[in-house]
Symmetry: C2
Subunit: 303 residues, 2 copies
């Protein structure tokens, strides 16, 4: 089934306690679409970059067979830039600088073909833009939305309007507490699901993820990684793997949703093993399936 994502396409400056890298390809839509390319032919990417983005980065996306007809290259514009620093435990990071640049007045008009998309993954972005894109899509089969604390704090009414329109929300545990104003994640899930999304995924970093549906709660383990090189994009990658797996099987049930959480987790575990998108560029389907099976094994009890 067809897959579309919208989100930032960025150039990142990344600092970890062990290494610093400049001019690293990043952005939500980048991670999402590269991840989706392992599940879906020609994932559609909606975004904007500046002239500084460069052919090298465009070629990385082209090589993953991503449909870039929705990627505006703004003449004289500069690409969105993010500068982040991770702490020693890798669970915390500081944003040192954000340059919106071409994202400052990004207001995408979708190519006609993109309006037919069936599985839509709204990467973390201004909720007004997410909603604007969503409303251009004629009859989506599943809409998945990512967001972050920034939008919960700065544009809560707008975010709530977007949430009314989506089927799935993916957020992390601190964002879930912030959005719901409840410290208890079970209560938080009930409150957030009443805002619109019938399906809620709460990511808990090194503690895995929780999936809430009408019928059940699913607890997904995290892969026990001894070395995390760079957590950037892990959340986007999760959202991309989750949505694209569902697009591939084109069936929504508690079972496929649970599997989608594990595929999202598996892809995110590859992401953090290298800098930026590097961990996602040269995977084989066999490797992905092996990692998925490792996730299954982590919580399997055969009786």
């Amino acid at each position: 089934m067809s897959f579309l994502t919208i989100g930032s396409v960025a150039i990142d400056h990344l600092e970890t306690p062990f290494e610093t890298r400049y001019n690293v390809l990043g952005g939500a839509a980048t991670f999402i679409s590269i991840t989706a390319s392992y599940f879906i032919d020609r994932p559609m990417l909606v975004g904007a970059v500046g002239e500084d983005f460069g052919d090298e980065n465009l070629n990385i996306l082209r090589e993953k067979n991503i449909d870039l007809s929705g990627l505006q290259v703004v003449k004289g514009g500069k690409t969105f830039r993010w500068h982040g620093r991770y702490h020693y435990d890798m669970n915390h990071r500081d944003t040192l600088e954000t340059q919106l640049n071409v994202l400052g007045d990004f207001n995408p008009i979708l190519p006609d073909a993109f309006k037919e998309a069936k599985y839509v993954c709204l990467g973390n972005l201004d909720p007004d833009i997410q909603r604007n894109v969503l409303l251009q899509i004629k009859s989506p089969k599943l809409t998945v939305c990512d967001t972050m604390n920034y939008w919960i704090e700065k544009k809560l009414p707008e975010l709530k309007e977007t949430l009314k329109l989506v089927d799935v929300l993916i957020i992390n545990d601190s964002e879930a507490r912030l959005l719901s104003q409840s410290p208890n994640l079970v209560k938080a899930a009930r409150i957030i699901r009443a805002m619109g999304p019938k399906i809620l995924v709460i990511k808990k970093g090194e503690h895995g993820a929780l999936l809430f549906t009408d019928n059940s709660v699913f607890s997904a383990p995290a892969y026990p990684l001894e070395t995390i090189v760079d957590p950037t994009g892990a959340g986007d990658t999760f959202a991309g793997g989750f949505t694209a797996y569902l697009a591939k099987v084109n069936h929504i049930s508690d079972l496929t949703l649970r599997k989608a959480v594990l595929y999202g987790s598996a892809m995110a575990s590859f992401c953090v093993e290298k800098f930026g998108t590097e961990g996602l560029l040269n995977l084989s389907l066999l490797e992905i399936d092996d990692r998925y099976r490792s996730f299954l094994e982590l919580s399997r009890i055969d009786e």
Copy 2:
């Protein structure tokens, strides 16, 4: 198989954001032995209380068919007392006061019958006392040890001597990081297992637990509880359920260890639903099995 526990038997003063209770039966050995009583006939308890402990509390333990011949009632002595306060999110607590009282010079000599115990659960206590008890037991089949940050900080060399002698260590994630000096739990597990215990359980509170053995890592989910009344004793209850389940099946394998983690988790989830030991006093085996099955369902993927 026979089951023995040693640990504090206490009278607690508990404050949560919603309620305060005085003179609540508590202590590691109390929670462990009450929990074990659902798996094992006549769990043996080693501990000490003062004359203030009272018949009412003794009767609670007697009614659970706990063998109290190893419980010293010290003439003129006062029972160990703990005063704790939980914060709003229930994941954090402050110890406001600890009165060691009769535990101050507790140095147990086991009754002969107790020396034959096969499954031993060393509740959180001074590691010298834990080791002293362990050395009195002739040929234990499995020894499980709990500890806490206090002993890691104050008596690390003594704790390390005890760890050399035990098969299983159960600690929480912050204690694992403290003991190993590593923020990464996978690395922490490797370092701690090299100290002695071949089997390590790291409890993560609302995020479940991890089990590390020679062969694999197991990730157990947490039960999604909307209301936690009182977390006191949850860790002890986990240790009791874990060890007593293994004593019941009398077989140690990756499968029984995984099940033991879920039974420990199931018992702990009952514990936190009421104050002190109240959530553990009137369970049926059917309820316990149902809760265990809920844990299985939480992470089940049927393919």
